[in-house]
Symmetry: C2
Subunit: 400 residues, 2 copies
């Protein structure tokens, strides 16, 4: 009996041991590349889906991310971790391999997006309340620097400005705009403490973009016509106004949603720009910022995005005409197809080499994948009120 | 005693079981992102190093890849597998996570590079002997298509041309040039069998590049002055000659090594082009392909590469002046620094967002990492006769 028991116990030991070696790894622990992964924001439920864009597959759902309306994502330089910026000041680090939250902090009362530094060491968050930018260690989410956006208003009173349009720039910089102060600030993360420079900009910048090479920072203005542009190769020249006829002065219809500037398409020396409050996509020559063409579309454009090969411009729209997407041929500058991916289209993301594009339809609870060649759907994925779609190749692109 | 033994056995069982959960995974089996990995070719030993560019670390060496002189690498769309194209016709698939060869075939007698299709499904190899292109399934390396480059020469005899300058292009195409036939061929992988189109080009194309958006395919010519360019947005127009003064006509010194066309820098509407056989980098306006400037450098340029932010142009050189690298400011178009990374510099690779650049020195058996901000070395890594350096973010870029 003694021997039998021991033997049984040893057998059990061997079984357990062997099981470890040969059973498939637990869910989310399999060895795999991270180059074809992504996160989809489920805004109503505070969750994100981890997706595989090679297989058109949802790999899992990660929950507990708080208020994800207007949420966005940047990625660690190894393309393993997504940093999710929530509306409630939450900053959450998600491991796409284990599909778990590794770190989560509430770093302000109200925030509007973020960025990761060129070297991948710092994650910055743009805040409304209190106004300013907070910068964290990307490995630990420990606070590295607080940059309160303090300014003096026309009445001589000091305040903290809402900050918007936060992006990373070459030289390990962050750049952002102050809505209340009408300024653009640059932050040099090579200096200790970080070196902050301030530049006057136009009135009430509400969003901004940086060109793909990180040279031009362009802020949209709510308080006046035109946009403020800084050449980061010559910051000493400050911001200048471009497209002076652009903005509120364009407004002929009620503006249902301010266009996203990150969504501008830069193709072949031309910028394809959503008109504010008009059913048009504008084409500007980036050489002299002259407006060269107005392309009629079916609603007020929100995102105007170029495919990676610059052949197509995909346009999403503001409420109430937001159940369709239109595709423009960048050569003929004509709408070549009107697609109906579902109700309330909120975002689009191209696969890295551009053979497909993923489109989220919030009120149809699905994401539709289109072939950019045939313009036909090739897959649909279920999602709960999906909004932003972010693939991991953003890890490798300046300004994303 | 009985109880004691059982207890000991059970303890052992628990220990073994726990050990499985907590011991680090075997070498090369740890869960990690693949966005910051790369391969370095060790040409003399038929091996590659797997490196981590976040940590400046060599993770391991993979051996048994045959003749790796002039070897190059493309990546699977999940950024896990590297496809290594050897000089001896070898095509090897390396798993960067397990650091093992998963598949290896000898697909011709003599080959010169390859490409992966836009959708990641096909890997193509450009062959000298016998001349043509072979196309494989990227998961299995099973042969999918053979495209012998058959042509008729001036004497009316049929032959198989050496093929060069093979790249991927939008629309799931491959594009390559026929050295002996003076033609450019496109291959549409959406058709079954693949659809091949032929276009006359200049005499003896020896290499080619495709612009980052996949629109222009440009082949260098050995047999005449100038280059052949095809606009892939309008292939029906065929190839036309650009930079007619470029090439052999430029030659004032013996040409020690033909420049690499993949190494052309495209920055801000200008192409920075290695002069053939002259100590100059040429600057051409891509609008009209007019040569606008000649920048004097210290030797015959081989690679002329723009940093991801287009601020710097890094230049490597042909024998015998190949122990230095020069850095040009793309705005002033002047050499701002001459660096000495080691003997026989063969290749350079920027980190994806451009904060650093890795430089291989074959005869110093090392790779030196420079900061693009300070232009000072920040790390060196030992390597055996290193040549090409290839980071996994290439997985996401058309033409790479």
């Amino acid at each position: 009996m003694k021997r039998l028991l021991v033997s049984a116990a040893l057998t059990m030991a061997v079984l357990i041991s062997t099981g470890c070696q040969t059973l498939p790894p637990p869910e989310g622990r399999e060895l795999r590349g991270t180059g074809d992964l992504g996160l989809i924001i489920e805004r109503a439920t505070g969750s994100v889906l981890v997706v595989d864009h090679s297989e058109h597959a949802v790999l899992g759902r990660v929950e507990g991310l708080g208020d994800l309306s207007h949420a966005s994502v940047v990625y660690s330089r190894d393309a393993r971790y997504g940093y999710v910026f929530g509306r409630d000041g939450g900053l959450t680090r998600v491991d796409l391999l284990t599909r778990q939250v590794t770190d989560r902090i509430i770093q302000s009362g109200n925030s509007i997006g973020g960025a990761i530094s060129q070297n991948g060491r710092y994650v910055a968050v743009s805040n409304y309340e209190p106004g300013g930018v907070n910068i964290f260690d990307s490995s630990t989410l420990d606070l590295v620097a607080e940059i309160p956006a303090i300014y003096t208003n026309a009445q001589g009173e000091q305040g903290q400005s809402k900050t918007v349009g936060l992006v990373d720039a070459p030289g390990n910089q962050f750049v952002f705009s102050l809505f209340d102060a009408g300024e653009i600030w640059t932050v040099d993360m090579h200096r200790h403490p970080p070196g902050v420079e301030r530049y006057p900009a136009g009135k009430e910048p509400y969003d901004a973009l940086i060109t793909p090479d990180g040279r031009y920072y362009i802020a949209g203005l709510f308080g006046e016509d035109g946009l403020s542009m800084m050449d980061l190769w010559a910051p000493e020249q400050g911001a200048r106004t471009i497209l002076p006829g652009y903005g509120k002065g364009e407004q002929r219809l009620p503006v249902y949603k301010m266009p996203h500037l990150e969504g501008w398409a830069i193709a072949d020396g031309y910028a394809f720009v959503p008109a504010v409050g008009r059913h048009e996509v504008l084409v500007a020559d980036m050489e002299d910022w002259r407006m060269v063409q107005r392309i009629p579309v079916q609603g007020q454009p929100v995102f105007v995005m170029a495919s990676p090969d610059n052949r197509q411009i995909w346009v999403s729209f503001a409420h109430p005409l937001n159940d369709v997407v239109q595709v423009i041929d960048s050569r003929t500058r004509e709408v070549i197809r009107t697609l109906e991916p579902g109700k309330s289209v909120l975002h689009m993301e191209f696969t890295p080499r551009g053979e497909e594009v993923w489109v989220s339809s919030r009120d149809s609870n699905r994401v539709t994948v289109y072939s950019t060649r045939t313009l036909e759907p090739v897959a649909t994925l279920p999602a709960q009120k999906p909004s932003g779609i972010f693939f991991t190749n953003r890890a490798h692109q300046l300004g994303l």
